[in-house]
Symmetry: C2
Subunit: 257 residues, 2 copies
């Protein structure tokens, strides 16, 4: 039953390790151009594909990024910080929270969204506690920081709750933000549950987040807003693996007197 | 400034996609053996290395695991769930919390640990708010579920707080668990901050967690216990990328009357 780990060191990994170490030692700093494919081919006596793979490893790790026609450069290692506390007040709006996160990192935010009525898939039905195929409003968001895609989300709300109300369309009604919107129709959210996982990126996520195709991974929050036992919104939030830090503050009850 | 995503589809990725789709369709179920290298070589007319790489992709994703000499098998996709709430009560002990997590997943827990006095590195000094080189007690844990390594952690406590007290050694004193231990010396933790990130696994982590070396990633919690402004413990908790779900429940304050 023991696993057989695949620890064979490949040549491109050795080269990636060398370059990573040089970055860590400060020989290449943020914004510096890394050696190109031709330089690596000569220096290590390897084929172009091996040089390319070595650079791809560093891009995959987020340590470096390619600029069209200019080469591969050391990136800023600054993660965006998403703090869960204070995020879910009765007045907060997720898009403005995102804007605050990017401002804190000295970056510029923009986003787009699209809403459409859909039948609940089995997974959405399970998250919302509704029957398979029940109508839900699906809203898909893409969030950009300095014009790089840094977050995708898919939000679902049961139309049984919102149909015909002013908040049926999440972003186009008189109020925005799940909690304030639900308050406006008399449904009072009392808690939010966030389940955090990491996993390999799907092809669609890699494309939409401009991730490297090989070994790309994402961090995912599966989030549900509850009013008592009623799930009023479910959402998948997908981040490039290494661009975010999710912060949670957990209060510890005081000693009993 | 635009990124150049590397979307070239490699042959081994096509094969991995085929196998993944067959698993998703239920053609291979949990515990089933996947086609071996020889079968894949014949079926797709590829070299052994390509067949091996295709299987490595699925192992990397956690969908499949190798059993020495027996082949590659579809794994259980059940993640261990680590719920942050209730975890940090005044009586809780992290090792017993881990045991509860594994029991909930129908698995068996075991762990080991080792403590030693160390000078604070710059990162540990920053986390604990102590001077560089200040003495700290470092305790390294390895956690296993059904004898597979599923969690590593490095815990640091300032010896300025604990030296000469019964809790100097975290696991060998009269009480265990950071909060209860600190209570016993009159330091009352009031909150825990967890910062969650994902990143490429280091070579040491890959080895200790038996991860595949290519493109392996981990989920990391950087945790600090605070008593007011005083950091009393800092800890890095490292999980294989896709074996855990971290659950956080965030209370939303009620409407003002």
């Amino acid at each position: 039953m023991a696993e057989t780990p695949d620890r064979a060191q490949h040549r491109y990994e050795e080269i990636a390790n060398d370059l990573r170490a040089a970055i860590m030692r400060g020989e290449y700093r943020e914004g510096d151009r890394l050696p190109g494919e031709n330089t690596i081919m000569q220096r290590y006596a390897v084929a172009r594909m091996t040089a390319r793979d070595a650079l791809a490893v560093l891009r995959h790790e987020g340590i470096a990024m390619a600029r069209q026609g200019a080469g591969v450069f050391v990136t800023s290692r600054k993660r965006l910080v998403r703090d869960s506390m204070g995020r879910y007040s009765r007045k907060a709006v997720s898009t403005s929270q995102f804007k605050a996160d990017t401002t804190n990192a000295g970056q510029q935010a923009n986003w787009d969204h699209e809403s459409a009525e859909k039948p609940a898939t089995s997974r959405v039905a399970q998250m919302l506690g509704v029957a398979l195929g029940e109508p839900v409003m699906e809203t898909v968001y893409r969030f950009f920081s300095d014009h790089r895609p840094v977050q995708l989300s898919w939000s679902w709300e049961p139309l049984a709750l919102t149909r015909g109300t002013p908040i049926e369309l999440p972003e186009d009604g008189p109020t925005t933000g799940v909690i304030a919107r639900m308050d406006s129709i008399g449904i009072h959210v009392d808690r939010v549950i966030e389940k955090v996982t990491a996993r390999a990126a799907t092809a669609a996520e890699s494309e939409r987040l401009a991730l490297s195709g090989r070994g790309a991974y994402v961090m995912v929050i599966e989030r549900t807003h509850y009013a008592g036992d009623l799930a009023v919104e479910a959402c998948d939030i997908v981040f490039p693996g290494d661009r975010y830090e999710l912060t949670y503050t957990i209060p510890v009850p005081a000693l009993a007197e």
